[in-house]
Assembly symmetry: C2
Homo-oligomer: 411 residues x 2
Amino acid sequence: MIDDKLNLAEIEGGITAPGSFLAAGINAGVKSGSIKKDIAVIYSPNETTTAGVFTLNKVAAAPVQWSRARVAQGKARAIVVNSGNANACTGEEGLANAEKMAVWTADALGIAKEEVLVCSTGVIGVQLPMDIMEKGIATACTIISPQGGHDAAEAIMTTDTYAKEVAIEMFIDGKRIVIGGMAKGSGMIHPNMATMLGFITTNVKIAPVLLQEALFNAADQSFNMITVDGDTSTNDTLLALADGSSGLAIVEEGHNYDEFRKALNYVCTRLAKMLAADGEGASHFLEVQVINASSKNYAKLAAKSVAASSLVKAAFFGQDANWGRIICAVGYSGADFDPQLVDIDLQSKAGSEPVMRSGAGLTFDEERAATILAEKEVKVLIDLHNGHYDATAWGCDLTYDYVKINGDYRT
Amino acid sequence: MIDDKLNLAEIEGGITAPGSFLAAGINAGVKSGSIKKDIAVIYSPNETTTAGVFTLNKVAAAPVQWSRARVAQGKARAIVVNSGNANACTGEEGLANAEKMAVWTADALGIAKEEVLVCSTGVIGVQLPMDIMEKGIATACTIISPQGGHDAAEAIMTTDTYAKEVAIEMFIDGKRIVIGGMAKGSGMIHPNMATMLGFITTNVKIAPVLLQEALFNAADQSFNMITVDGDTSTNDTLLALADGSSGLAIVEEGHNYDEFRKALNYVCTRLAKMLAADGEGASHFLEVQVINASSKNYAKLAAKSVAASSLVKAAFFGQDANWGRIICAVGYSGADFDPQLVDIDLQSKAGSEPVMRSGAGLTFDEERAATILAEKEVKVLIDLHNGHYDATAWGCDLTYDYVKINGDYRT
């Protein structure tokens, strides 16, 4: 797939796509009896610029506390991740264990423990099986390779049904720029998502403050549009490492930085949409676009409110054109708008059906609406006719399987 | 049941318990083919003081717009309610229809249309069947009686599985004070509840500003603790009529007003808990008590966040002692607290099990926890050890049936 406007092309390889990064994903047995891969290591032989976005939850897991302090220094060389155990609410022992993960990774790779970022995802409140972690980390560090991206993407999964990875290449000043990324599932997406982990690698050289700003902005219009600000888990983390191996250096704002930002947004949005589509038990992928709002914030609030509404989500599961729940969710979103001006359309590749005009419901063709909603990917278009700001949020429907998965996750 | 501390006793009769109010509930056929009662009328032969609390949703249904304006005048004599159709997003025609409901009720009862409050609940965006409404309202007004409270409570139900009513009597200055109430279901309770309607009748005489204040405060610690402020439907309405027939007049703050407020809080809390227990598809009733918070607002935020968490709700459906999701929901609630100080206990009539102490998970007896969670009514006790403010929220679990009910409600 080529995006002409962005002048970039998707390529294979996930987080090892830049070529200069090594990775591995192995089964260590973090979750007793499971044969699923559960430890991932990403390593940069080169020095990097590092940026991160972390959970706003007051209860931050031990690895978040460790990694937040390391990112503040801005010079990581490796990331170690385990699934199967979140190392959250684990007290002093948990903090010590997060540090041990960094130490073992650093020792195996011959770097300093301060250069290792740590992420965990899984059950809360249980201490990590440290003998298994030690062996697993050592093994993973032994087999890291430029082809290990996909294994790493598999190793970070929890209830995800498939690995999420994407990579792009583009040319700036004649240099081949690559951005690779992988992410793991957001569980129910909203209102209180399971852990979201995201990892970005790139071969640009970039000033730390610029990378941090670009990553923060990319997260804001991608991962944050499948959840609600503040409603984050104890472990949510998005990390980016830039190693400069492309030869391109972005040291100030301007054209090159803009191109990089657009590409980073693209990668993060692709990953975020994959997370939404793979929401626990989801049978439909929902895109909610709000246009012509009177501010960017109102557009975002309205779009997220609709995508997050359990009643809307349940209606899409039932393939029910229940636009009343949609306008209701816009109404309590906190966005300012005039209810008398609102238009709503339901869309999919099967067609487009207007269901509300100027704030009043239309008598529409139920059969045509049902055909549209039977598609796997469905879009809600909401025109507030109140300004010129747009925003898009993504989500999934609410299904029996969601309840099943979350009714018995821990045991 | 007698509450000694409050010095009140529950009695029969719902909203007609004061004796001076008349009511009826009939099947008019608002929802084609349904034999369920769907029109309710409450009438006060005496003049009343009137108060109301309405949805904060930007999209307010036509009956809400009508009733809000009437309550501002403070002198209603009747309330007409229909279920089966919300008369929301119905434009000018909907506003005219809400007024017609008031006119027909006023004509039948011989009062002014401005003395009639109107409420609707049901599907959004469909015009009311006005021929059916006209006949139904006329019939209901003909058969209103002092015994009609229960029929009225049945007529306002939508997906509720039973009618919610409560009434109390108490003595103040030798006068027998009665407060009656009825309410209808909040659907999923949160995050975007279906319409909540509540109605209160009482035989005290009370200054309008005091009744409004008392009702607002009662709603804040009852109905608002089973939902989240702002996340209200297009139709949510709580109305109170006080007719003064007891001979007791409350004209200023002081002992008598305090006693009345406590009793009103009791009635509203009883109704709110019934709504939570009857959440769509619910198999467990959840009470979340947060104690020792550093402010009342933080206590409320934390309690509501836990009660509203879909992950917590799904865990209780699975009878899974997943306290990690509980502390996570406290963490993103917006409440300020120290994670290192938090204690959590799971309780029911089968016992009490500490699952977190000082912010770290305990190794607890899974079997005993399972026994506790198997009970229909389960309580989460969260001690923040951070101040001296408490709050309680109520909710229910998230079940397969919730998804089923909401996946196909409109059709």
